[in-house]
Amino acid sequence: MNKIWENIFKLRQKAVDEIDAILLKIPVFQDLNKRELKKIKRILHQREYSSNEIIFKEGDIGLGMYIILAGEVQIVCGPDNHVLAELCRGDFFGELSLLDDAPRSAAALAKLPSVTLCFFKPELIDLISRDPQLGCKILFRLAWVIGERLKSTNEQLKKISCLREQDPLSA
């Protein structure tokens, strides 16, 4: 009997540890200690999506970011559902929505049965008012992520402009 209980407990602990490990790999949560991570987990929403289910549509008001715990997600845009990216376990998307109210620039679609953790703006705002220190940590890391994205975009723009200068017709 004890062994059954121990096994159940171990399974649950293993799942919790796995979620912790995934969250700690996300740049937004990297600096958090165990206590802070526990606080964050309390405000995350876990959702399950079946294969080909829409997670959010292009044009919807963006509310927050999604972290993939299991499965595979496609980011698509336009009327022809052009695939921009394919994401898997441990990846995250939609983090810009934590900062602005702009509509989603692309849609997200579960390619395979997927499980996601959702971190939303209303909860972030609530967290900032309740625990400003933790809120600042997250906002700082979020700014870092956006900065990295900006750097990467600048690099890509530089490459395109270099290509144009070298061969205007092919660019």
Binding site: R42, I43, H45, Q46, R47, Y49, S51, N52, E53, I54, I55, F56, G59, D60, I61, L63, Q74, V76, D80, N81, H82, V83, P103, L109, K111, F120, K121, P122, I125, D126, S129, R130, D131, P132
Partner: protein
């Protein structure tokens, strides 16, 4: 077309064909739930009062949390503060309150009331003689009305058993709503289908701000108006100024009729007190000034979002509230209708904004 998007379109088509059936089923479920609630009005009343109180206390719990406290500790501390406030009120304000209630009962003694009413009848009769009215019998009519009102008060207000139940159950529900409100919200949101999940959260966020501001604004407004009424009546020298002031503050929750009800009570007491119209003008002046200050300064500053309601809506809300939940219902139905109006208005507005973004 990219791989894996074909079935989505098929799902959309089949989804559209069943969406009407789903809407009908949801509407039937809501109607059934409302019908069920009408069978348990007492519990509904307790839950509504508890939700309103939890909404009002929520910013205090958030403030304590921002100072490093855990949510359960913050909730316990708020309840300790409330218990202290109640004890303080019991020791300082309650004796005055009790004295004024017993004074008011004595003031309405048959002899004194009879004297004032007969004087009022004598004053009116010369003006009514041209209509052919020879006798008004105001005394008999008043006694009949007072007897009816007494029965009503006994049945609706002084129901000791329900009072004790409420005194225990309301703090109990408020405590858990305050402590675990976020978990309740998360549990509710987890039941929402994926399709409406983000919108539901978005709506919750918007409603929380609007409804919270509305309820807290109403409470602050009622407190300020009540304090002004107590002070004004005390300056004029109206007896039972404390009791009437509190009533005026609470009645202010009801638009249009509330301020008039407070003023009418003050006028009646002043007439019974002096046996004439000596203080009537001052009372009218005091309530007019309070109303002007309320409309021009307090409401625009304190009540962040005024909920406009048609007078007929207010009247019906008060009547239904009184019928279902007694005096408390009359006072709470209007803020509740305001709450529902904000909920419905914001839901429709934000759904449109969400979908057309």
């Amino acid at each position: 077309m990219p791989e894996g998007t074909g079935p989505v379109i098929c799902m959309r088509i089949s989804g559209n064909s069943t969406s009407h059936l789903r809407v009908v089923l949801i509407l039937i479920s809501i109607a059934g739930f409302i019908a069920f609630l009408t069978y348990i009005p007492d519990i509904v009343k307790l839950v509504i009062i508890s939700i309103l109180l939890a909404y009002i206390l929520d910013p205090f719990a958030n403030f304590l949390e921002s100072r490093g406290m855990s949510r359960p500790t913050a909730t316990v501390l708020i309840f300790i503060a409330i218990v202290f406030a109640v004890i303080l009120a019991y020791m300082s304000v309650l004796p005055l309150f009790a004295a004024q209630i017993s004074g008011l009962q004595a003031g309405f003694s048959p002899d004194r009331a009879g004297f004032v009413i007969s004087r009022f009848e004598d004053f009116l009769m010369p003006y009514l003689s041209f209509l052919g009215i020879k006798e008004l019998n105001l005394m008999g009519r008043t006694q009949g009305a007072m007897a009816g009102a007494g029965d009503w008060v006994l049945n609706h207000v002084l129901d000791a058993a329900s009072l004790v139940t409420s005194m225990i159950l309301i703090p109990f529900i408020v405590f858990f709503l305050l402590k675990d409100g976020r978990e309740f919200k998360r549990a509710f949101v987890s039941l929402v289908p994926n399709r409406y999940f983000e919108f539901t959260l978005y709506l919750f966020h918007k409603l929380n701000a609007q409804v919270g501001n509305y309820l807290r604004g109403q409470l602050i407004d009622a407190t300020i108006v009540g304090t002004m009424a107590v002070f004004g009546l005390w300056v004029i020298g109206v007896k039972y100024f404390f009791l009437i002031g509190i009533f005026a503050g609470l009645a202010n929750l009801i638009p249009y009729f509330g301020p008039i009800a407070g003023a009418v009570l003050a006028l009646l007491v002043s007439i019974l007190q002096t046996g004439g119209l000596d203080k009537v003008l001052y009372v009218i002046l005091a309530f007019t000034i309070i109303k002007l200050l309320d409309d021009a300064i307090i409401q625009p500053v304190v009540v962040a979002r005024s909920v406009h309601m048609h007078p007929l809506t207010v009247l019906l809300a008060v009547l239904i509230g009184g019928k279902l939940f007694g005096i408390l219902g009359m006072l709470l139905t209007v803020p509740l209708v305001g709450f529902l109006k904000v909920v419905v208005h914001e839901s429709i507005l934000n759904y449109r904004r969400y979908r057309t973004a």
